[in-house]
Every structure is written in C-alpha cells, then in structure tokens.
Symmetry: C2
Subunit: 220 residues, 2 copies
C-alpha cells in the first residue's frame, strides 16, 4: 500500500473517532456528567489515584469506565467499594476510542456526577484519541524518571492536570524535579502539577478541589 | 470505512512489516549479529539495564538502536560510554517497525556482536511487530505492580527473557511476587525471569550469561 493511502486511512480513523467523541461529549454535558480521561503508563497507579479521589468527592456521584487490554481486577475493586464501574477489555487495542465509550456509558445510566474513564496504560496512543472527555488527567510517577515529558511529549502537552504519583518513594531514588518541570512547562504552560502518594494519601485534597472547580465551570 | 476494509489494511501492514523483518533477521545472522528487541513500559529502565549488560559483555562488540518518540538523551549517554549507538525518533509512532530498523542498521555497519534494539516505552504495540530480532527481552519493574502479566499479556507471552527491574525498591512497596510469577507462567512456560537492580547492580551476571549462551546457539 502507498504511504499516501495509509495516511488517508489514518485520517479517516481519527475523523470518525472525533465526530463520535463530540456527540458523546454533548450527551455527557446534557446529563450533567463531567468526564475525565485518565491517562498514564502501565503501573502509574491510575486506579489507586481514582480510589483516593473518589473517596474524597463525597456528595458527588462518581462513575468509572475501566479500560484494560485484558483482566478486570480494577473494576472488581471499584465495585467492591460501591463505585458504579464498568469494564472495557480491548483484547489487544492500545487505547480506548469513542465507539467503545459510547457503549460503556449506556451501561452506566450516567446522571449528574463525575465520570472517570481510565484509559489503557500507555503514554503514547491514548493522547491521540478524544473519547468524549471534558478534561484529560495525566498520571506520571517519580519511579518512571524525570525525562518522561521529553520522551512522551503529546500526553504532557494535552493534559489539563498532571498528577505526579508515588512521591513516597522519592527518598529512595533519583528524580530531578526541576528537569521534569522544565520539560512539562516547555509543552504545557497551564496544567497544574500535583505531587501525590497513594501510600501516605498526601496531595489528593488539591486534586479533588481542581476537579470540583472544573466541574462547576462546566455546569455554568 | 467498513470494519472489513480496516482489518484488511491492518493485515497488509503486519504482512509488509513481517516480510521486511525476515530479511533484516537474515542479514543480521549473516553478519554475525545477535539481535535483541528490548521492550518495556515507559521508565522501566531499559537503557539503564542495557548499560549494565553492555559493561559486562566485555569482549563482545555491542551496538544499540535507540527508539524514542522524541529526544536523544539515552543515545548520547551510550555514546559517551563508547557504545556504537544510533537514535531513531518516531515522531509520534508508538513502536518501532522493520523499515526503521533497516535504515538504522545501515548506519551502524554491524559486524559480529550483539545488537540491542531499545523499543518505544510501551507494553502494548511493540509486542505486535517483529523487527528482525533473534530474541525479545521484556523489562518489567516491581514499581509497576504485580498484575502486569494479566493486563498486558502479549508482551509477557512473546518474551524470551523477562527482567524484573528496580528490585532495590522492594522493601518500600507492595509487590506480590507469587501472583506476578503465576501470571507470567500462565502465558509463558520457558522464559527465565531474572530479578535485577541497576542501583545495587545485582542480577546482571545471569542476564549476560543467558545472552552469551543464546548468541552461541545462534552462531552454531
């Protein structure tokens, strides 16, 4: 196949996805749903962060669409906590797309609250696909090293909020915070960067406050 | 576009890649090159592991093709150590493919030794593409958590050797090694799983011995 033809095909895939994403986003907004696309590398602690956040969102209904290639540990864990959650297994696909979200959202009967969509653990592909979200939350970790913004720029560029997780491990490893922040700010001038630890539970009040404020703005 | 047409297109992409991979592999073998496809999540420590391994390979020529979306820190570091290394920046692509490797290999004038091809940090897509390698080395870490084989099965299934990195951090986190190994063995009966730490430098003698043995078998 010619390169030109391959590019045309990819553009058609993005185009089809983005149109579906706009429709899903409109439907979320109409139903009072604030949708957060949660992205991060494998093992960044996406579900652990969501658990901390959902616990603190108290009088706000929380929903989770959990994306994984295989397995459903995280959905089972969330459900055991009383969270309305639904699992998407992509089989092999490396990111969630809008048609998948459309179907999963129907199962949850969403109404007035915050929907977290936990994407596949991958710092590359998820950043390329809108899935109906109002904001993108990127979860990075100190264990991954401080060069990640330089190596995986799109995810950092597109994030509306950046969570730096596993900060309890900082005493035991080399993480150059200045270098990390310089990389982030070269790509993204505005997203707050919030240091957290799911072990010590530090930092989550600030994350929750940010979500509440953004949700309010969307309602108005 | 119809789903059938999309599937046909993907099959054509895989097919074209696999044909090129076979040719590259043949050319490596003819030139006495043993090629290792190094895969792992972002921040798994792929370059750090390679540095430890290459230092111990002593009387064997080592070459590195370094894959990143952007940036070239790792190639600069390797070159500063005297390693023959070349950078591939994919721009946005989430994995290396055979045409990219073909070009990079030409630049290195490969002859009699071990070529490490460090793939993009991604536990999903790289496992789907042959790039001319003789073996696949998967680098997993204790900081990513023990459920990774269950969530990202293809990479674990296809690996010829699995390195479990960052074991110096085990005292500070929860990692269920039995659960991890059960997940690995359900997918992969034979790959050795070797625990290492780039900080304490433990475990690398065993990795190097495995590479030397495999390289010998390939020569015979």
């Amino acid at each position: 196949m010619s390169e030109k033809k391959e590019i045309d095909i990819m553009e058609s895939v993005y185009d089809k996805n983005d149109k579906a994403a706009s429709q899903i986003n409109l439907s979320f907004t109409r139903n009072g749903i604030f949708a957060v696309n949660v992205m991060g590398a494998p093992g960044a602690g996406k579900t652990s962060v969501l658990i901390q956040v959902i616990r603190r969102l108290k009088n706000v209904a929380s929903y989770v669409i959990e994306g994984d290639i295989e397995a459903d540990f995280d959905t089972k864990l969330l459900k055991s906590m009383g969270v309305k959650a639904v699992q998407i297994n992509t089989g092999g696909a490396c990111h969630l797309d809008s048609p998948l979200i459309g179907k999963a959202a129907e199962e949850l009967s969403l109404k007035n609250g915050v929907l977290f969509i936990e994407n596949i653990g991958n710092l590359v592909c998820p950043a390329e696909f809108q899935i109906g979200e109002h904001v993108k939350m990127l979860i990075s970790t100190v264990t991954e090293g401080s060069d990640k913004p330089y190596k995986y720029p799109l995810a950092f560029e597109k994030a509306d909020i950046i969570i730096l997780n596993k900060c309890d491990l900082l005493p035991y490893l080399v993480f150059n915070e200045d270098f990390f922040m310089k990389g982030v700010r070269a790509l993204n001038k505005t997203a707050p960067v919030i240091k957290v630890s799911c072990k010590t539970e530090d930092g989550f009040e600030e994350v929750v406050e940010w979500i509440r404020n953004k949700q309010k703005l969307q309602k108005e």
